[in-house]
């Protein structure tokens, strides 16, 4: 159970605000969850065909990221750039991303991959949200959209792996406030279809379900619609893809979600107090999604509308 936070900056020229505003919103959510926090930001897009961004985490700490990046570079014979923040790093192999990924997963168990994609960067850790934000410099992030989450543990242990956002596939992440009542059957059904699970967390079951639907050719909205039939329980989902931010509540809509939208941004939170300081919020269109009402904001089209 927890607090969710989402923000999409509509004006491409104002993207440096993303980190600062997002962090303030996240800290406003600390009362709903103080065991762990996580954030996925959609920042600079990697352009090269065969390149990707990896978000990596070294749970043991004290990893020499430079040496690690050099090792990857040697292995790929391609340029590898990186930016390290404590025991997290964003590493970009500028080519042969597939090979790089296998190298990380198969040969470096000391490192845990948090995400892969062209735009996404993910940070998660145990501790108080404000400390985590400071540790990883959330305030300085610049980009188009962000989803973040503060957590109080429920049906699975408090470990960093269970911190949201859950990532699957490329550039896809899911944050979940609530509790599914049939996650085990869902997981088994998806495992039979070849999906691999890292945890027993109900959020991962939901994320993999959506991943499966997207793989089967559904667009995001259709995938979420399919979820209304298959997923049972209480949930508010906040979803990020490379270009989109999406929000949906289950048919009972018991778990909160508030949206404030202006010409400059779309901000989402579990409680209004998280939105209270945003610039222009007093004139914003403030609303709560109804049950099964799917909202999808695309950074390209909202920018175009301005």
């Amino acid at each position: 159970m927890c607090g969710i936070v989402g923000l999409l900056i509509k004006d491409p020229d104002k993207r440096e605000l993303l980190g600062r505003l997002g962090t303030e919103m996240l800290e406003g959510m600390a009362t709903r969850g103080r065991d762990s926090a996580g954030l996925a930001a959609y920042t600079d897009e990697v352009e090269e065909e065969d390149a990707r961004k990896f978000s990596l985490y070294a749970p043991e700490g004290n990893l020499d990221w430079r040496a690690f990046a050099d090792g990857m570079q040697d292995h790929l014979d391609r340029e590898v750039t990186f930016e390290a923040k404590g025991n997290h790093a964003v590493i970009v192999p500028h080519g042969s991303a597939e090979v790089a990924w296998r190298w990380v997963v198969e040969e470096h168990p000391e490192v845990s991959p948090l995400s892969v994609g062209r735009s996404i960067e993910v940070y998660k850790d145990i501790g108080h949200p404000a400390d985590i934000a400071k540790r990883y410099g959330f305030g300085d992030l610049a980009g188009s959209h962000v989803v973040a989450h503060t957590r109080m543990a429920t049906e699975s242990a408090v470990t960093w792996a269970h911190a949201h956002p859950f990532t699957v596939g490329e550039d896809f992440c899911l944050i979940h406030n609530g509790s599914l009542s049939n996650p085990n059957n869902l997981r088994r059904m998806l495992q039979r279809r070849g999906m691999h699970f890292d945890t027993d967390n109900d959020t991962e079951a939901a994320a993999r379900f959506l991943e499966w639907r997207l793989r089967e050719g559904d667009d995001l909205e259709a995938a979420i619609e399919a979820g209304f039939e298959e997923l049972d329980g209480f949930y508010t989902f906040l979803i990020g893809t490379k270009d989109e931010l999406a929000l949906v509540r289950d048919p009972f809509a018991c778990k909160p979600a508030v949206v404030a939208e202006t010409d400059d941004y779309v901000a989402i939170s579990s409680e209004f107090r998280s939105l209270a300081y945003l610039p222009g919020v007093n004139d914003a269109d403030v609303f709560e999604p109804g049950p099964e009402e799917i909202f999808v904001w695309n950074k390209k089209s909202v920018a175009a509308k301005r």
């Binding site: 159970m1 109080m152 543990a153 778990k255 579990s270």
Partner: protein, 465 residues
């Protein structure tokens, strides 16, 4: 479903079967089940009854104490003091509850119980220095007057809930669920609301009762945290806040209650009673109290809040032995419902006029289609001994003064029994009882209680398979 036979019914054709029953008895489709199916086919509505789970499940009876031996010295009864004082709610509250005994009285509603009974409970509890608890329907003046320490329940229904009663309570108990029907709500078909109860609950009289299963103003532990804060803000942080759960996912729930800010966690096992609910919940939802106390304690240990957050356990607590064993397994206190009603005459074949003259109630049991000893028809409101009723005539069958004395006597016996066992284990304080003082008589109870099978070192699942 209760199997009326005393022992296990086997499949083999035994002489008994042919002689006593006229043929081989089916274990699955026994007479009780047969009657139940026919009743369902006849009426088209489900059974509703009172009390808790009747079927046999592993319980405290399956454990015994390892009392004094050559290496462990007992205390002299009567001369060497064994402390029974119990403090609940010190975590956040300015005014925790200080009890003289670890035995408290569980939440039972005025509405299911008569005013006389509520008064008897209050006075009896006060006489031994312990607390009573309001139930679904709110606080009555009688109860507040008669009970020195009163815990005020905040339930999903919120019938009668108001800030003035909240402020004059000694603690507040936010009820998420109870052992008899964890997660339950729904229609209590045929349970008509009487006049007095109707006015207390702001409902029309004579209609079927509907039962809310969730609280109206919060869902989920993150919101519970904020609700508990609201209750604290209204009571200026003076009152201890209890959170009560029906025993299902006990370890998770206890952790969440602690994180949400509970000062005391109350765990009610499946044997816990109710005035009226669907039979299917009572027998088939929730886990035994024995399993629940162990999981609850483990959760508190894992969060390292033992001593900070107290654990109260209820559901089938009947004797001093039950109390002592619950404490040894980690409870700080217990809560009693059904047993204290038995002390007041529930299921007795007589009631006591003016608290003195026994008068047979057998005919009245028969009018309900039952007999003394097996009655669970509190949902009718026609209790033959005047306990679970609002009928002014039936109510008189419990004289409050007599009742208060009975409650006091019974609670006193429990307290003495706990102290007796504790002394025999060499403890000068009942709260020093520990799980290593216990062994189990069966493999199941050893596994549930996580104590060794008597005479062995074996704890199933812990020390080897």
């Amino acid at each position: 479903m209760t199997d009326k036979s005393d022992g296990e019914v086997t499949h083999a054709l035994e002489e008994n079967d042919a002689v006593t029953h006229g043929g081989q008895v089916s274990h699955l489709y026994n007479r009780d089940v047969q009657a139940w199916v026919r009743k369902a086919a006849n009426r088209g509505i489900y059974d509703i009854r009172g009390m808790g789970a009747k079927r046999k499940v592993p319980h405290f009876d399956d454990l015994v104490f390892l009392t004094a031996s050559a290496s462990r010295y007992p205390l002299e009864g009567y001369r060497e003091k064994c402390e029974t004082r119990t403090v609940l709610g010190g975590r956040n509250a300015k005014k925790p509850l200080e009890l003289d005994t670890p035995v408290t009285i569980a939440g039972m509603s005025f509405g299911s119980l008569s005013a006389n009974v509520k008064e008897a409970l209050g006075r009896g509890a006060s006489a031994v220095g312990t607390s009573t608890t309001t139930g679904d329907g709110g606080m009555t003046d009688e109860e507040r007057r008669s009970s020195k320490m009163l815990v005020y329940q905040c339930l999903p229904s919120r019938y009668g809930f108001n800030p003035d009663d909240l402020r004059r309570a000694d603690a507040v108990e936010v009820v998420i669920g109870q052992g008899a029907k964890p997660g339950g709500g729904g229609m209590l078909l045929g349970q008509k609301i009487s006049e007095r109860v109707a006015s207390m609950r702001t409902l029309p009289a004579g209609i079927d009762q509907r039962s809310a299963s969730r609280h109206p103003d919060w869902t989920g532990p993150d919101d519970l945290t904020i609700k508990l804060e609201e209750l604290r803000e209204i009571t200026d942080w003076e009152l201890p806040i209890y959170v009560k759960i029906g025993a299902t996912r006990v370890e998770n729930d206890v952790k969440l209650a602690v994180k949400a800010g509970a000062d005391v966690v109350v765990v009610d096992g499946m044997q816990g009673g109710t005035a009226a609910t669907q039979d299917v919940y009572i027998e088939h939802a929730g886990i035994p109290t024995l399993a629940a106390v162990v999981q609850a304690n483990a959760a508190l240990e894992e969060l390292d809040v033992k001593g900070e957050v107290q654990l109260v356990v209820s559901g089938g607590i009947r004797t001093g032995a039950d109390v002592a064993k619950a404490i040894a397994l980690g409870a700080d206190a217990v809560s009693i419902g059904q047993a204290v009603l038995l002390a007041l005459g529930c299921n007795d074949h007589v009631w006591y006029k003016d608290g003195k003259t026994p008068i047979s109630a057998v005919e009245d049991y028969e009018k309900l289609g039952t007999k003394p000893g097996v009655c669970h028809h509190m949902q009718t409101g026609r209790c033959p001994v005047g306990i679970t009723t609002q009928d002014p005539e039936l109510e008189k069958r419990v004289d409050p003064e007599w009742g208060a004395k009975r409650v006091r006597n019974y609670l006193q016996v429990l307290n003495m029994e706990v102290a007796t066992l504790a002394r025999a284990c060499g403890k000068s304080d009942v709260h020093h009882l520990e799980r290593e003082d216990l062994v189990a008589l069966t493999i199941e109870s050893a596994a549930m209680a996580k104590v060794p099978l008597a005479g062995t070192d074996w704890i199933p699942g812990v020390t080897g398979f």
